[in-house]
C-alpha cells in the first residue's frame, strides 16, 4: 500500500481516464494517486473511485518559482516543480512552498543537483523525485547515464537526509507500477531498504497529510489543532 504522486490523466496529456487509472491502481495495490496538472490549468473535480486522489499542481517556469508557488499554495494539495534546468532545480529546493522537485536530471548530461541545492531541500522539506518513466523509456547507454545521475542525487539525499519520493510519472496505465516495485528502484539507486520503502509510503503520505491539514486551516507553522 503506497502512493504514486505523479500520474497524468487524459485531460492533462495522458492516455487513460481518471476512472481507468484508479481501477488499475487498485489492482496494483496502491492507496493513493497524485493527479498532476499544470499550475495554470484548473483544478479537476475528483469522483469517488475508492482510492485517495491528490491534486498535484506542477509549476513549469524558468524564473520566479518561489513567487508562483507562494501564490498557488492555497489552491493545490501538492505543489511540484518541473525540474531539469539547474536554476529551476535550485529555486525549487530553496523554496519552502514547494513539496516535490520532479526529475532534476531531465535532459541533462549531469545530475542537475549539487550539495547546496540538496542541503537547501532538506531545510525546506522539498522532496526529490525518482522518476520511473525516465528509466523505463531510456535504453542501454541513456539508461545507464540516467541511473548514474540518479545514484549521485540519492547519495546527496542520503547524506543531507533529504526526503525522496519515488513515482511512476506515467502517461498511461501500463506505465504504472506498484509501490513496492518503485521502492525497489530507489533501493538499487543507493538508499537503505527501509528508507527506500518510505519513499512510496510514509513520505508521500506525510506530505499529503500535512498539506491537507494546512488547507483545512488546522495547521500553522509547527502548530496543529486536533
Amino acid at each position: 500500500m503506497g502512493y504514486d504522486l505523479h500520474v497524468y490523466t487524459n485531460e492533462n496529456g495522458g492516455e487513460n481516464s481518471l476512472e481507468e487509472l484508479a481501477g488499475f491502481a487498485k489492482k496494483l495495490g496502491l492507496k493513493g494517486l497524485g493527479i498532476a496538472r499544470l499550475h495554470t490549468e484548473k483544478k479537476q473535480e475528483f469522483p469517488d473511485t475508492g482510492i485517495d486522489l491528490v491534486d498535484v499542481a506542477v509549476i513549469k517556469a524558468d524564473n520566479g518559482i518561489d513567487e508562483i508557488a507562494r501564490r498557488i499554495r492555497n489552491k493545490a494539495e501538492i505543489i511540484a516543480v518541473y525540474g531539469g534546468k539547474y536554476l529551476v532545480n535550485r529555486q525549487a529546493c530553496e523554496s519552502r512552498y514547494v513539496d516535490i522537485l520532479l526529475h532534476p536530471e531531465l535532459n541533462r548530461n549531469d545530475s542537475g543537483l549539487d550539495h547546496i541545492s540538496v542541503r537547501a531541500a532538506a531545510e525546506n522539506r522539498t522532496a526529490i523525485e525518482v522518476n520511473f518513466r525516465q528509466i523505463l523509456e531510456a535504453y542501454k547507454r541513456g539508461r545507464a547515464n540516467i541511473l548514474n545521475h540518479m545514484k549521485r542525487n540519492m547519495m546527496l539525499c542520503k547524506k543531507f537526509n533529504t526526503d525522496v519520493v519515488a513515482t511512476s510519472s506515467s502517461l498511461s496505465k501500463w506505465n504504472m507500477r506498484s509501490a513496492r516495485e518503485l521502492a525497489a528502484i530507489a533501493y538499487l539507486l543507493g538508499l537503505d531498504l527501509g528508507h527506500a520503502i518510505d519513499t512510496t509510503t510514509i513520505i508521500p503520505e506525510e506530505i499529503v497529510r500535512i498539506n491537507r491539514e494546512k488547507l483545512a486551516g488546522k495547521r500553522w507553522e509547527g502548530v496543529t489543532i486536533e
Binding site: F24, K27, L28, G29, F132, I135, L136, K140, S172, W174, N175, M176, R177, S178, R180, E181, L182, A184, I185, Y187, L188, L193
Partner: protein, 129 residues
Amino acid sequence: MDARFEPRPKTLPPSMRTKGRYLIFEIFSENPVEYQEIRESFWNSITNFLGELGTSDAHPIILKNLYDPKSQRGVIKCRHDMVEQIRTSLVLVSMIGESRAVVRIDGVTGTIKSARNKYLGMRDLRSFK
C-alpha cells in the same frame, strides 16, 4: 552410455548450497500471454538491466510448471541477495510479446512449498493438520 545413468556429482549439503528465494509474479496484460513470451521478455529485461555478469550472479530461473496461464501468475527463482535486482528488472518489462503488460510481485518466499501454499493456492489435504 545412456545419459540418465551417467555418474553425477552428489547434491551439496544444505549448509553449502546457495540460498534461493522465490518471487511470485502476476502479469496484467492487454491480451493473454504465453509462457514462452514471458520467458523471453523476462530474460531480455534481466540481461539488459543487470548485464551478463549480474545475471549470472542472480541466477534467475523461471519455473515452467508453476506458471498458470489462466491467472497469469508464476514463480521465478533467484539468489537470496539479488531479490531487489530481479524485482527491478521485472519492473522494467513493459511489453510481453505483442501486448503491453505490467508485472507485479505478489510476494517472496524461501521455499517452493510456501510459494505454492501461500500465493498460488495449491493446497492439498496435507496442508491442513
